[in-house]
């Protein structure tokens, strides 16, 4: 059940080639999907343009539910990119995984904690950046001592906890889903009887994983906006 990761060291950095591959594929799919569906833009939207506009409105609603559009409008593109990228990433590992010589190549890029924590750190980092940029360093710093000065350590811990939970929640959900899928596929499906027995739970779990993947991408986007709003808005 355990697969090796294709790790190479380059310039003193460890690269998991499977991750590199899947990140690239996920990015390419998101890019192609977005670009192809916005090739023929029209005032009267048709087909994929409708879908993309729906996604935009969906993210817009998420942002509006956490902060003023005046503040949050600048995060619109970030939000759409995140929700699309994470959704596509979550879906990639569902239909199959590819293992070559005991090395796992095809999987969800979000089933790796390094990837999800990178995204989470990016988000939290952006929240600090925009906190300083939009409220000024003074107001930003004072937020750490509100409502009481002795809350400071807790606030500091909160930032790290936010990062960790944001990344690990996504990773945990997707990784667990893939583990169970590979267990069902490889651990149970040995022989005709096993395959038949595994087919139904496999189907159920894949369906559930689609749901989980969609929900997780939504939650990630939602929490992104919540953290950003927390740092950016002055009234709460």
């Amino acid at each position: 059940m355990h697969h090796e990761a294709p790790i190479v060291t380059f310039l003193g950095l460890q690269f998991n080639l499977a991750n590199i591959l899947m990140i690239t594929i996920a990015s390419a799919i998101v890019f192609l999907l977005a670009v192809l569906s916005t090739r023929r833009l029209a005032m009267k939207p048709t087909g994929m343009q409708n879908f993309m506009e729906w996604v935009m409105d969906f993210v817009k609603n998420i942002i509006n539910s956490t902060m003023d559009w005046k503040d949050g409008g600048r995060f619109h593109i970030l939000g759409i990119t995140i929700i699309m990228y994470i959704f596509v990433s979550n879906m990639l590992g569902l239909p199959f995984s590819i293992v070559v010589d005991g090395v796992l190549w095809w999987k969800s890029p979000t089933a790796d904690p390094a990837v999800t924590l990178t995204l989470a750190t990016l988000i939290v980092g952006l929240s600090h950046y925009y906190g300083v940029k939009m409220k000024g360093a003074g107001a930003y710093g004072r937020e750490f001592f509100k409502p009481f000065w002795f809350m400071f350590p807790i606030k500091i811990i909160e930032e790290f906890a936010n990062t960790l939970t944001l990344g690990l929640r996504l990773y945990g959900n997707i990784y667990a889903g893939e583990i169970l899928l590979s267990l069902l596929a490889a651990g149970l499906a040995t022989g005709v009887g096993g395959t038949l027995a595994a087919a139904l739970p496999m189907l159920v779990w894949q369906g559930f994983s689609v749901f989980v993947g969609a929900i997780q991408s939504f939650i990630f986007c939602m929490l992104t906006m919540v953290y950003l709003a927390h740092k950016v808005s002055s009234d709460h």
Partner: protein
């Protein structure tokens, strides 16, 4: 074998952190975001904004044309009212004119008739006078004639003298 898979660290059975993956992911995500902004979200947002503007413009245009139509309708209505009142005035005027003309014609006719009547009366009077004069003349001559006949028959010399004297006297008195 199974337990290995569930251990977090065992997901990548190696030591250390994949810094390469982290950097790559960061890099890829930023590139993806920038590319999408340029090639997909930007144009899409543009067209959505454009549509929003278009709808807003159409609404305001419709509002404007509605106001304009209302104004025109009001204008037309007032024009119609004006025309109607004007027509009424014209009819009224014509009626009045007709009345006046009628009165005039009647008056003229009446005076004409009066005049004709007067002149006819005058004529009649003249004719009558003429006739009376003629009759009187005739009567005078006749009476003279009769008188002369009577006188011829019954007048003797004495009486004749007396009569002549009377006549002469009378004539003298008259003149």
């Amino acid at each position: 074998m199974l337990t290995n898979s569930f251990v977090l660290g065992a997901a990548a059975a190696h030591s250390g952190v994949n810094w390469g993956d982290i950097i790559f992911q960061l890099f890829m995500f930023i590139i993806l975001m920038v590319l999408l902004k340029i090639f997909a979200w930007g144009p899409l947002m543009g067209i959505m904004k454009q549509r929003e503007d278009h709808v807003a413009g159409e609404i305001s245009a419709a509002e404007q044309s509605r106001v304009e139509a209302k104004k025109l309708l009001e204008e037309q209505r007032s024009l119609l009212k004006e025309a109607r009142s004007e027509a009424q005035g014209l009819i009224e005027n014509a009626k009045k004119q007709g009345d006046i003309q009628r009165e005039e014609i009647i008056a003229v006719a009446r005076t004409e008739a009066e005049r004709i009547k007067e002149s006819a009366k005058l004529e009649i009077e003249q004719q009558k006078e003429k006739a009376v004069a003629a009759i009187r003349e005739q009567v005078a001559s006749l009476s003279v004639l009769i008188a002369s006949k009577v006188i011829e028959k019954e007048l003797n010399a004495a009486d004749q003298d007396k009569l002549i004297n009377e006549y002469i006297q009378e004539a003298g008195e008259k003149r």
